[in-house]
Amino acid sequence: MKRLIPATIIFVLVIIICFWAHIYVENACNKTLNDIEQFRNKKITGTQLENKWQEQKENMSLFVNHGFLDKISIYIGQLTVASTDNTSLELNAVYKNIESVLVLIKAEQKFGLHSFY
């Protein structure tokens, strides 16, 4: 019985962290989308976007597959470079890529049939 108490405390903590991670990652993804939108509307520069993403990446790396985060870093780098050339077609493709990776990250945190199986 004496082992049940620490194990239960740890289990409850794990469950709380799971829910918290779900909310945190969801918010971080939305924030990143918002930052990209601001970049799109030329409210922030490419460097600012990269700095903001770096901060989000560091925090999200605790719960999210690092491969996804690295992919977004590469896309944001591409976005910064492409914005100087003003090729909107290329930019749109990169936006779509970032969005789809963020959707994947969100899906990974959710409990659904896809993640379950």
Partner: protein, 226 residues
């Protein structure tokens, strides 16, 4: 590279805590569910070590959930005979009065070679000498010999021997083990008095054991002395 070292350190500590929480058992003494959990924990711990793209939190969460499940299941098994039987199975009588139960052997998929090997491991070379042989849930074979095949005991010989006293280590590697002194209810002064005749200092003693009757064994560092 450095992250792998840190990850390894964290996972080592986590797995050690996890195994400690589950309780001490040797691999051979584990029940089926304990063995499964132990194997799973070692596999899960290896994933974040091998694949640095995986966040460590996933491995840690899985380990702690497994530990919690193991503790819950072991408590349920302790409280309920049905759960215990369901999870661990039941002991099976393989030999009764020197006769092998072939049906039981088929049920537990035990071959004659396995049986003879296990009997030899218990110093039994003749099946007819066995009153009962029970295959335990952890795979060990417990054997009760027939009366006429059992070795003679002190009780059979009706000898009046003094009770054995448990010798405890009172000095280990030059240091006094105070827990043992407390258990033996003797003081440090009394210990020094015993030691004085055979050794200059506690520091010179590699191991000293002592029982309640005052019988002691002293092994000096770099030699043996009785």
């Amino acid at each position: 590279m450095i992250s792998t070292v840190i990850r390894t350190f964290i996972l080592y500590v986590t797995v050690t805590v996890a195994i400690r929480l589950m309780g001490k058992r040797q691999i051979g003494d584990m029940q089926p569910n304990e063995l499964v959990i132990t194997l799973l924990i070692s596999e899960i711990a290896a994933i974040p070590l091998q694949d640095t793209e995986q966040p460590m939190s996933i491995g840690l969460a899985a380990i702690f959930v497994l530990v919690f499940l193991e503790i819950i299941i072991s408590i349920l098994a302790m409280k309920s005979f049905f759960v215990r039987k369901l999870l661990n199975g039941q002991s099976v009588v393989i030999i009764k009065n020197g006769v092998i139960d072939q049906h039981a052997m088929r049920n537990v998929r035990m071959t004659v070679v396995d049986l003879i090997e296990q009997l030899r491991g218990q110093d039994v070379f003749n099946i007819e000498d066995v009153a009962f042989a029970v295959l335990e849930v952890n795979g060990n074979l417990s054997v009760l010999l027939k009366k006429d095949a059992q070795p003679i005991s002190v009780k059979d010989a009706k000898l009046n021997l003094p009770d054995s006293k448990l010798p405890l280590p009172v000095i280990s590697d030059g240091k006094i083990v105070y827990e043992s002194l407390k258990a033996l209810e003797i003081t440090k002064q009394k210990l020094n008095k015993i030691l004085k005749h055979q050794c200059d200092s506690v520091k010179d003693v590699f191991l000293m054991t002592l029982d309640r009757d005052g019988n002691h064994t002293i092994i000096k560092k770099g030699g043996v002395k009785k």
